[in-house]
Amino acid sequence: MTEPTGRFTVRLSNFEGPFDLLLQLISQHELDVTEVALHQVTDEFIAHIKAAGDQWNLDETTEFLVVAATLLDLKAARLLPAGDVEDEDDLALLEARDLLFARLLQYRAYKQVAALFAELEGGALRRYPRSVALEDRFAGLLPEVMLGVDAAKFAEIAAAVFRPKPPPSVSLSHIHMGRTSVREHAALLRIRLAGMEDATFGELVADCEHTLEVVARFLALLELYREDTVLFQQEDPLGELRVRWTGGSVEEAAEAAERDRAGVDDEEYR
């Protein structure tokens, strides 16, 4: 599974090759993400990392986490049950899927730009600027010195200089990717609950393939509860959890779902 070059490659029943290529094929619609066994990809990646011993690559691991999280989102969106094509839900789902594609492409584009930046910086770092104290004969002419910053900003600068170099560990911050997932599931639940009015938690997660999706859906329900659009009912501890929709009409739910899906971007760009 690991090429001599040390790059991570994937071997599945329907695909074999570098991880990057897998991603490319999916983003070009030449391979259906629902047919990719992500748990196998993950297993292979973990094996790849283990095989490398202490030599594992932080960049590669970070990239894998980001891409895997995106693929998971993508797959979750694709796996949701589909009815008639004219169905509002389906259209919304299609949009959600495209959004995820777009996000993936966008992320990759910026990653390429970042690589270019690294190259430019590398070139610039080989050119040392002239930065020397003024000749004595001019020193007296200097105007009164200005720092150009206040005390708070000065402290920020000091903090940036003192900030330690990153320890060689995987950043957990990528788990924030999960938030996207929760938003996505909240959108889905709104539309579904508005139609059903009343459902058990079991019914709401029946189509989930992975534990992570069930968790995301549960978190989404808590979000909806917080904004007073659902009510919970549970007769006894560990008993069946019933969820009742109180968030208005199907149309209103669909609108709210749109806002969920567009998320942060929508608030800023319109």
Binding site: L105, A109, L120, S131, D266, E268
Partner: protein, 187 residues
């Protein structure tokens, strides 16, 4: 100006004067500031600066006159870096981290842009990176977003200098890397 001053109508003396000024600046200096100090037209000054830069390059000089971050500054020519590093000993400078580069990439192309928008593109929390980039002077605040009230950020001239770019226009277009850029803008 006094009459015993070098005669700057003469190109050779104008070149000398420009070189003298460039030798004492400690950050990139704009053509206008040089032209002001010499009381010469900006256009003529610009031509002379460009001619000096060419002359140094043709001569294979160890001095490289470059325009970065909107101004001109003397740098050592890149091929001599190993010798410079040997002399300065601890000369080799820290590179930007991958997280910093990716965050700068988003800000550079989307500026002015809010923190949450950057976080959405990168898929991770960017608060720590943004704070460090601010403190290092690579980005700066530029007002607030009318709708969300979030701070807007843009890249600085120091950022351009750091990458050796003379202006943001030198950045390659994002479109070829991003086929559906219009669609994404609507996200």
């Amino acid at each position: 100006m006094a009459s015993d001053l070098p005669d700057l109508t003469n190109d050779r003396d104008l070149q000398g004067a420009v070189e003298a000024l460039l030798l004492v600046v400690d950050s990139p200096i704009e053509v206008e500031a040089i032209a002001d100090a010499l009381e010469e037209p900006v256009e003529r000054t610009r031509e002379v600066i460009e001619r000096i830069a060419e002359r140094y390059t043709e001569a294979g000089s160890g001095i490289d006159l470059r325009r970065t971050g909107g101004g001109w500054r003397f740098y050592t020519r890149d091929r001599f870096a190993p010798f410079v590093e040997k002399l300065l000993l601890d000369g080799q400078r820290a590179k930007l981290t991958r997280a910093a580069l990716e965050t700068l990439a988003v800000i550079a192309y989307r500026q002015p842009v809010t923190r949450s928008r950057v976080a959405a593109v990168r898929g991770v929390n960017v608060d720590g990176v943004i704070r460090t980039l601010l403190a290092r002077g690579l980005i700066e605040e530029t007002g607030t977003d009318q709708e969300t009230g979030g701070n807007l950020y843009r890249t600085t001239e120091l950022f351009l200098e750091r990458l050796g770019l003379s202006s943001l226009e030198d950045l390659p277009p994002l479109a070829p890397l991003l086929p559906e850029v219009d669609a994404i803008d609507d996200m």
